[in-house]
Amino acid sequence: MNPRRWLGAMKMRLRTLLHRGRVERELDKELRFHLQQQIEENIASGLPPEDARYAAIRRLGGAEQIKEECRDMRQTAYLEDLGKDLRYAGRALRKSPGFAAAIVLTLGLSIGANSAIFSVIDGVLLKPLPYPHSDRIVRLFFSSNSYPKFPLNPFDFRDFRSRSHSFDSLAAFTRSDVQLSGSGEPVRLAAFRVTAGYFRVLGLGPEQGREFDAKDELPGSGRVVILSDRLWRTQFGAAPDIVGQKITLDSQPFTVLGVMPPGTKHPGNDYHALPYGDSVDAWWPFTFEGNPNQRGSHYMEGIGRLKPGKTPAEAQAEMDALVTEVSREHGRDGGGWHMLVIPLYREIVGADERMLLVLLGAVGLVLLIACANAANLLLARATARQREIAVRMALGAARSRLLRQMLTESLLLALAGGGFGALLALGGVRALVALLPAGFPRVDSIHVNASVFGFTLLVALATGLLFGLAPAMQSSRVNVQQALREGARGATGSKHHQRLRDALVVAEVGLASVLLVGAGLMLRSFVNLLRMDPGFRPDHVLTANLSLPDTEYKTPASALHFEDQLTANLAAAPGVKYAGIGTDLPWTGYDENDGGFLIQGEQPPPGHEFHARYHFASPDYFRALGIPLVRGRFFTGADNHDAPAVLIINSTMARLYWPHRDALGGRVSFEDNPKEKDWMTVVGIVGDVKDQPASGGAEPAFWWPMAQVPLLNGGVMSVAVRSDSDTTGLADVLRREVHRLDPTLAVADVRQMDQIADADLATARFSFFLVGLFAALAITLAAIGTYGVISYSVGQRTHEFGMRMALGAARTDVLRLVLSQGTRLALPGVILGAAGALALARVLRSLIFEVSPTDPLTFAAVGTLVLVVAMVACYIPARRATEADPMVALRSE
């Protein structure tokens, strides 16, 4: 049809729809006119008026049928029927509110859960990162078999940058907090030192001012800073002339070079657990200081923007070659190192993507079960209404019309369920976000949005069609004659029906079993995590971070003096058992390594170097944190600058690097051609502490005494204070003591160690909680489904049971009959579920901790639970079966 005609036709249809009354009247008038003409014709040919009239009426046929046909022709009948169907459906549903409520609830719950999870997934996984062309941004890590993601050495990085051709821009950054002083309390800023071009990699640029350039990287320069929008507003009152002004960071003057636009998001970094998001306060340039041939320290994070058309794999190949080239130039043989180039998205979302997808799978399973349940309910209802359908078909209703009507009923339920589900989704998303563990990536981009509603609606409609069609087609295929003849008992000859419903229940039980196995495994893994030995004692420990600006503390001695005084004063304070200072704390993801050191009498494996995490610690650091001493001793006050150089290592390092002898007394050197004074002696071996609670194992690590080695970190340190009892008052004590020694210092990140420990368990707890919730929901739904089917079947067989009992069967026999029927449904379901869970073992493996995905205990427990639940679900109908009155059965024969 051409558009103009179509428009005219549509207008016509609309008119007939809206002015239905007028159209009907006109048709009536037309037909009466026609009749009149016929009558006059008859009269003209000689018939008397009465006969003329009757002849005309007879000739013209039934007016009503003609009108009906005309109406059909107008093709608006469809919409009117729809209206009638809806009203009819509404009435029917109101007559059986329990049934309607059951379906709406079933659907609503699963649709709500589905949409809520989907919102989270949308925000975390699907939304693109907030950088232009974020798919081209990659992270770079030094990588080997033993260290898959290692930070970079700054001078190596500089070489890579100048020689690589795969990148538009390449940059590196490292966490380097500074202290802002000036008016008021000194404030600790979360800051990063970045190389020039860092912002170009992200595709962002300062709102005001300019970016760092190559000049700023030269040693001695770099006293410039770029502020975040939030910092500019809160600390500097959004001063319009901030660019060019000098501010004091770490007691040094820095010139403000620019201000970033609001909402600049940090591209994630594990160490110091800076969550992904807008929490960086300032950026200042990384200057390449020191010996460019010193390639041992690795602490820079690499990030780059690929040239258009380059893939990460290509870049990685090029970088691998560069790594080998650079290593060879410095007399190292490459040592099995290569480069790992990962898209930024994968790095940020990474492990959590797996969990979210598994959750989505779980929710999908629950939705399937809900659909099966709803289908079952509707099928049962349709079977019960067969007589009604038979009568209507006998009275001339078209099969398609009946089909349409049942479909309407199902769709109405589905939409109601969808609406309820949408409400649940809104509330659910809010609840989920509140429950998400801290540090979960991209939490701020999770909202309920239009696409989620679209998804919900789609799911609702799909389920409506899915479970509306099957039962509807079933019922309309009923043999009318047979149905009418069956009498009041209703059709029992629906073997087809029964089998379908049984299959649905078996499927439900199977799916629920899979979820239960998943939940069971996660429960065990969670318990394992809880019971896991952290390697230290996080209870009753308060921690905080300080930084000593090197303008105030120019010499190591002055810093040391401060540290000694602080620990002594703290230890003397009431309620404090031990106080220690170190460069970092356990479980913060610290992963800076030193490498290439020498161990007297030991050689590294061929092609490899010795690597270990390095830390500094005061004598009581280990006691404060409760890190146990395995052998040897802790540092003491005697290990000062003039005493022989000493070292404490952890058990892993002892085991790895002194495989055949006791590491105690071993000697380590960090110089290439060590003289006697360059050798450090291992005086103590302490227990292992993992980087994160769920890390596979501990990495080799050593500690230098703070008294002997000058701090590398720019004066940043962590304080740990152990109390005998309560840590609540300790925060004030700590602040007071710090400020007594130096009122210009900011005490930051005051936290209880338990909280840090707890935060890491949060992800495991969250996943377990959700999967457990879904499993509970699933098994409830499966139980309802089983109950429904058995109950219906018992209702059908009441007569039969009555006969049996009249013929001498005991009540227990009947009970056993019904229960065995239930078992016949549940058992195959459990077996199917077990098979399914085994098939999914690989998927589950990544989510669980120290538990095998084929753990027999879990499977056995789940199987037993499901069977018990099925039996309970059958019990009530079974009881009802035994109450069938034999007299009634006999009488109705």
Binding site: N2, R5, G8, A9, M12, R13, T16, E26, L27, K29, E30, L31, F33, H34, Q36, Q37, Q38, E40, R59, L60, G61, G62, Q65, I66, E69, C70, D72, M73, R74, Q75
Partner: protein, 109 residues
């Protein structure tokens, strides 16, 4: 006399369109005219005529208008629209092709 139900629906449409192509007519007049011109061979009943007229109107090929008929009462007169005229031409061509084809097959002994 062949019953009008023997006529396939399309043919009835063609007859109606042709009948009103010269001048607008109301339903009764259309049926009468077809009867007359076909020498009583085609008798269109009310039951076939009015649904067809309504369908053609819905599709936009004819337009109905209430006017005073010769008898003093008002009647709904149908006229061809411009699209209807094009449709008529198309259907005439189709009918031509169809009847030729049938003739060929029949004459094939």
């Amino acid at each position: 006399m062949s019953k009008p139900s023997d006529l396939i629906q399309g043919t009835l449409d063609l007859l109606i369109l042709k009948t009103i192509s010269l001048e607008p007519k109301h339903g009764w007049a259309i049926a009468k005219r077809i009867e007359q011109v076909s020498n009583e061979a085609l008798q269109i009943t009310q039951g076939a005529l009015y649904p067809a007229l309504h369908r053609l109107e819905q599709q936009g090929w004819i337009r109905g208008e209430w006017r005073a008929s010769g008898t003093g009462r008002e009647a709904k007169f149908y006229a061809l629209t411009r699209a209807g005229r094009a449709q008529l031409a198309k259907e005439l061509a189709q009918w031509d092709r169809l009847s030729n084809a049938v003739a060929l097959v029949i004459n094939m002994a």
